[in-house]
Amino acid sequence: MTTTLDAPAEAPVRNTKPRKRIGFHGLMMTPGTALLALLSVIPLVTITAMSFSRVRLLGGVVFDNVGLTYWARLFGDLDLWVQWLRTIAFFVLTVGLEMLLGLGFALCLWKLVRARNLLLTLFLLPMFVAPVIVGLLGRFLTDSTFGLYTWLLGLVGYHGDILGGGTSAFLAVVAMDVWEWTPLITLVVLAGLTAVPQSIREAAALDGANGWQTFRHVLLPSISGVLLVALLIRSMDAIRYFDIISVTTNGGPADATKTVPIRLYETAFRFFDLGYAAVIGLVMLVVTILIARAFVRVLDRKGLTR
C-alpha cells in the first residue's frame, strides 16, 4: 500500500534500521498488543498453573502442586458432561431460534419500505439492555402471582410456575436470550438484504420465480455470508451465556438450567474449588477456540476477512 512512499517519510538515516524491523505500523501496534498480552497471556499461564494446583487463599495466594488430580476428576464427572449437553442444547435452541426469527423479521421489515427505519429502530432496543436486567425483568414478567406473562398465559389456560418447573424454566431462559439477541440477526440480515441489487431481483421476477424461489435461489445466496457471520458471532456469545441464568434461576430448579458457565462460577466462587474450576474453564476455552477457528476459516474461504 504505502510501500513506494516509505522513503520520504523516514528522514534520518540513523533511524531506518530499527524502524525497518518493526516499521511504523508495528510501532503503532505495540502498546495495544503489549497490554493485550499482559491481559491475556498472564491469566492464561495463571489458570493453567491453577489447574495443577490446590489454591489456598488464606494468608496470600498459595499454589500447592497436586499434579493431574483435577484433570483426572474431569473424566469421572458425570454431572459436568450432562451440563455440557445442556449447554449444547441451549446453544442450539437459542442460536437456532434467533436465526429463524431474525431472518423472518428482517424479510418482513424489508418488505415494508416506508416505515422500515422506524420499525427497525424499535426492533433493535433489546440489544442494548443489560443481560442482568433482561433476567430480572424476565423474573418480574413470569412471577407466579403478579407477572404479566403469567397472567397472559393464564388467559390461554397455562397455570404453572414458569421458573419453578424444569422444562418451563429452561425454555424461559432460552426465550430471554432470544428476546435480547434476535434483533442483532434482524439488523445484520436486513443490511444484507438491502445490499442485494434490485436488478437481480427484477431478473428473477422476469424469469417467473415465485416468492419462495426468489428467496431460496436469489436472496438466500446473496446474504449467506452475512448470515454466517451473524451465526458465528452469536455462537461465541451463546457458549458463555451467564448473566441471565445467574439472576433468574441460578442453575435451578433441580439443575434444569445449570450450564457449564454456571457450574464453573459455582465451583470457583461458592465452593472455592479453584483448581477444578480452572480445569472446567480450560476445557471451555478449548471449545471456544475451536469454534473461533472454524469462524475464521469459513470467513476466509468466503473471502470475508480483509
Binding site: P43, T46, V61, P126, F128, V229
Partner: protein, 281 residues
C-alpha cells in the same frame, strides 16, 4: 423503490404486517412494562390483575436516591469504570487497529486471530485467574481493577473494529499526505484518524454498552467501593423478597442511556457488531 416486483398480493402484505406487529409486541412489551411499572406504587406493581391504568408516582425513584442504599455511588462507579475503560480501549485500539490494518508482516493473520480470540474467551476463563492476580495486586473492589477487567474484552474488540474502519480508508489518502511532507505520525493524526471519526464513536459506544452492562466481572471483582449499577439491581433481590417497583426503576436507569447511545450509532452497528467482518448497507 416500489417497482413491479415489490407489489406483493394483499394477503401477503397483511401477513407481513401481522408478523411485524407480533414481533413488535414481543420486543416492546417487556420494556414498556418495565418503564410503566417503575412509575407504579407498590400496590399497583404487585396487583394480581395487571394494572394498565394507574396513578403514576415517582416514589420508586425517590426511594432509590434517598433510601439507605443510595443509588448515586453505583451510578458514579458505572460511569467511571465503563467510561474510562472504553476511552482507553478506543485510544489504544485506534493505534493498534491502524497498525493491524496497515501492516504487511507475515504473521498478521495469526496476530489478528490471537487478538480476536481473547475477546471470545469465555468470561469465566478470564475472571478466574484475574481474581487471583487482583487479590495479589490489591485490585479487588477498586475502580482501576474494574477498568482493567473491562479492558480484557474492550481492548481486543476496539483493536479489531478500528482496524476494520482503518481498512476502509483508501491508502492514497495517506500517501498524498506523506508526499505533501507529513511525517507518518502527522499523516495518521491529522489525515487518517479524522476520517475514521464514525469508527471511533461507534467503537467507544459499543465498548461503553458492553462494560456498562457487564455483570459477571463486577460480580467477582467489585465490592462496596466499586459496585456498579447491574450489581445494585441484583442486590435488590433479597431473601425477604424483591422490591419490584425499585427494581424496574433501576432497570429503566440502566437501560435508557445505553439505548440512546446505541441508537445514536445505529448506522455503523452492523460493522460494529460483526466486528467489521460485514460492512452493512
Amino acid at each position: 423503490m416500489t417497482s413491479a416486483i415489490d407489489r406483493t398480493p394483499l394477503r401477503a402484505r397483511l401477513g407481513v404486517r401481522a408478523v411485524v406487529i407480533v414481533g413488535l409486541l414481543w420486543t416492546l412489551v417487556p420494556l414498556v412494562w418495565m418503564v410503566a411499572s417503575s412509575f407504579k406504587s407498590d400496590v399497583d406493581v404487585t396487583a394480581a390483575e395487571p394494572e394498565f391504568l394507574f396513578q403514576p408516582t415517582l416514589e420508586n425513584y425517590r426511594s432509590l436516591f434517598t433510601g439507605a442504599n443510595n443509588l448515586g455511588p453505583y451510578i458514579w462507579h458505572s460511569v467511571l469504570a465503563s467510561g474510562i475503560s472504553s476511552a482507553l480501549a478506543v485510544a489504544i485500539g485506534a493505534l493498534a487497529g491502524y497498525g493491524l490494518a496497515g501492516t504487511r508482516m507475515r504473521a498478521k493473520k495469526h496476530v489478528a486471530f490471537w487478538i480476536i480470540s481473547t475477546r471470545m474467551a469465555p468470561i469465566a476463563v478470564v475472571v478466574l485467574p484475574l481474581f487471583l492476580l487482583f487479590r495479589g495486586a490489591n485490585l479487588i473492589d477498586s475502580i482501576p481493577g474494574l477498568i482493567l477487567a473491562y479492558l480484557t474484552f474492550n481492548l481486543p474488540f476496539a483493536i479489531w473494529l478500528m482496524s476494520a474502519f482503518f481498512a476502509e480508508v483508501p491508502p492514497s489518502v495517506e500517501e498524498s499526505a506523506l508526499v505533501a511532507g507529513c511525517t507518518r505520525w502527522q499523516a495518521f493524526w491529522h489525515v487518517v484518524l479524522p476520517l475514521t471519526k464514525s469508527g471511533l464513536v461507534t467503537t467507544f459506544v459499543l465498548c461503553l454498552v458492553f462494560s456498562w452492562n457487564d455483570y459477571a466481572f463486577a460480580l467477582v471483582f467489585s465490592g462496596p467501593h466499586s459496585q456498579t449499577l447491574p450489581i445494585a439491581a441484583d442486590q435488590l433481590v433479597t431473601q425477604t423478597g424483591i422490591d419490584w417497583g425499585q427494581l424496574t426503576a433501576i432497570g429503566t436507569i440502566v437501560v435508557l442511556p445505553m439505548i440512546a447511545a446505541g441508537l445514536a450509532v445505529r448506522r455503523w452497528l452492523v460493522t460494529g457488531l460483526t466486528l467489521g467482518a460485514v460492512t452493512g448497507e
